[in-house]
Symmetry: D2
Subunit: 272 residues, 4 copies
């Protein structure tokens, strides 16, 4: 068994949590650290892109989990160090009991859709949450053309366009007014940041579809942001293409059903 | 070939359109009328529930189309006599050319998901657009419990809950803030009328799922409305169950792709 | 000093709270009961329309407060017996301490705008929260024409139209997507229930304006609902006119500023 | 009479329009040009900040009008050269007839509220539409604290916060889900770009209030953008203060009432 530890940048508390787990897991399990964890725990850290393990323990927040899923190989167990933590499985006070479950193999691996993203045919990192095409100048609306499977869908004036997976539907896309997609839905959702017209609604497309976004007009440079982690410049005439990846995001889970998770993380306390 | 004509109630203009089609189609095609059409065209009209044909020509609006899909058997060709006409295929000025296409067999039959709906295990009419559970007293919010595949999802206080097909996602569900589902999406959308809390978002669930809605609390009588056509009373403790029907809604279409239709009917003029 | 007690229908717990207050207040203060409170507390109850007092203690929820403001005369102190209680000032566990503040005169009277409402020139009850014009048949959209100060604003297809005061802006209007108006804003907000088009936005108009709503088309009977308490039938051709009343809603308050109240009641826990 | 001409950057067509107006107006009227107009029309152009006139003719779009109102002195007559043109009064085909009205004095000057904006007590340019505080890194949500008249209102996680005048309520604030404020409303609206929580609603505050926005947390550099024209960097701890300016935006208008303008520009074609 090979366990990797990846922690949030400069987070000493995260390293302390890592240490407490390391003390509990069997001595014959192989442990590897990313460069951040190695700063605090000693040893030689690996760059996140070189990490491959049976379980990757992410200590931090959703950003840490997304960075792992974008760069490393292996199922992720996220430990939430603050914030809402849609993608983290456990809270700090569950670290001990969850480690024992890990040792006893009492966990499941849930798979989730990832997006593959191209600019003009060049493949970039996969996304677990969403790809965002956004004006590169704040408060300067852009005009985007959206195609599904080669068919023109609409032209939209907005600050940006988001294409999100079901996992990502509770994140940035939700802030943009997008619906929640249950993890079992085979689809993606297209939503819009500050659309000029309120006529356009978020659109749900099948997971087999390819969504293309083109920047209309000249002098409309924009940015492509993948999972809030990586940024690429795009310019008028460029085509961003987004579809389902062959790769899956894999999450270690101790919960019985995805509905438990949904209620815990996404839909709590709605009545009032 | 057997062609049925169903028209909007008391619509003389609709009957005139029907007549103009009848004059064009081959004399050996069998023609049948619903009771409304027969009022104007003569002959013995059939009750809509007894109509079964190779093509059913609906002259009126979306209501006429929905009533046919709920009661009759056969693919529908809708002729729009006013209003937006999401479900009608052609406008009045296309009647002539479209009739010739019909005669030459130059059309497709598109299938769309229907919902089957139960109250306490008793099956009701199928829906093409949506099933709505709604308070029976205006401006008196109700509390609904929503389950997906037997798992509790959330409790919602609102005027009502809508479960819509992709076809219905551009109708009442859209007025309630729901997203647009492309016709190719295998899913349904749950949206809410005047929800007390703005925290809850419309939820997209897979087409294989069963959505159950229960009325929470006592003294909370409500209504179940199917496609805006049929109304049933429900009371506290009753369970409304909604899932994909074995039956399909079938539409006669002259368009090349569903995207043409989408742009024509749903997503036009978004830029300004 | 004359104190009136009005309680929620059939609420024995409410009567118990009333009793505990009565035991604390000076014996020379005059106490009067509404018919509901009298059922439990003895004595001769007054109809709510006959109640006039220096302070009216409302024990129940927002409905009880709204009913008093619609029918009785005097500033209201609301005690929340469950629910969110936008219009109630105190919770059950504050009853003792608040009664002492009342006795010592340590309270303020806050005034809030009320709406006066006419159907075809006939004046109805004033509203503290909102007037709603709503289709009388569920899921049957109506077409409403809206005028401001005699000028045509727009035609809207929807389930209903709401005109709300700043006080009511956090209630039903908010469920319909309306903004929050600070209590100090001299304005009203027009919002829409399930509008057919998402192009129309809620509109804020000055408090001096008169909003008129007409039902367009024939056969479009609707309902006018005042503060969720009183219902009137309206029919095609009728005009509902809504403007600022000369009367004010008066609330007993122990809070230092309206912002304390806003944060407590309306805007809490927004960050997550 | 002194008339100034300001045109969109590098817009030769705009200069042609200017020329056609110049040929119509009386020879004894003084004409001045901004540097852009002078490029095409000859003569010595003035910097926009030095322009002061009885009427300033803006040929371009809303950006041109906003730039004039931010920098020059005098009432503006906007000619729309493309785009929606909320702030422009006339279309190209009305230039001739409108110039004659101008000569005959058949116009009104409408005044509209402007915002004065401070960073840490330093006054910046006034705004006609809105002031936006926005994260300086795309897709990186910030936490903002909002105060009204010194009272803490709420903390909001979002891409940005907008404070808009009634004039600006139909622009960027509307894209962010804000309501429309009639020009006669004495208020401002606070709305949010991609808010993390959907619980928070746009808030309308009185025009006499001062809205303060502070950036919460460290390392949260942001931008302040005034009318989409001027940009300032702000950092953690800085306070942006927004209130009603003593100055007014003044618009030349040929319309009889503000409602004509509203319907033409903002609320058209709502029914379908």
């Amino acid at each position: 068994m090979k366990v990797a530890f990846v922690i949030r940048k400069d987070c000493k508390r995260c390293a302390t949590i890592a240490k407490s787990i390391i003390e509990l897991i069997p001595p014959d399990w192989e442990k590897i650290y990313d460069t951040e964890a190695a700063k605090f725990l000693g040893g030689v850290g690996k760059d996140i892109t070189e990490i491959s393990a049976d379980i990757i323990i992410a200590i931090g927040g959703d950003g840490t989990v997304l960075r792992i899923l974008q760069n490393a190989k292996g199922p992720v167990l996220g430990i939430n160090m603050g914030g809402l933590g849609f993608l983290t499985e456990i809270e700090i006070d569950e670290v001990g009991s969850s480690t024992y479950k890990l040792i006893r193999g009492e966990y499941k691996i849930n798979e989730a859709m990832k997006l593959k993203v191209y600019i003009n045919g060049r493949r970039l990192e996969d996304c677990t949450n969403e790809a965002v095409v956004h004006t590169d100048r704040i408060a300067r609306i852009r005009q985007f053309k959206i195609y599904v499977d080669g068919h023109f869908l609409t032209t939209i004036k907005s600050d940006g366009v988001i294409v999100a997976t079901p996992t990502g539907s509770s994140s940035y896309s939700s802030s943009a007014g997008g619906p929640l997609l249950l993890p079992t839905v085979r689809g993606m959702v297209i939503s819009y940041l500050a659309p000029y017209s309120s006529r356009i609604k978020p659109v749900v497309v099948p997971s087999e579809s390819t969504v293309e976004i083109k920047i209309a007009g000249n002098d409309q440079d924009s940015l492509l942001i993948l999972d809030g982690q990586k940024e690429y410049k795009i310019k008028s005439g460029d085509t961003v293409s987004i579809s389902m990846s062959e790769e899956k995001a894999r999450f270690v889970s101790f919960r019985e059903s995805i509905y438990d998770r949904l209620r815990d993380k996404v839909i709590k306390h709605v009545v009032n």
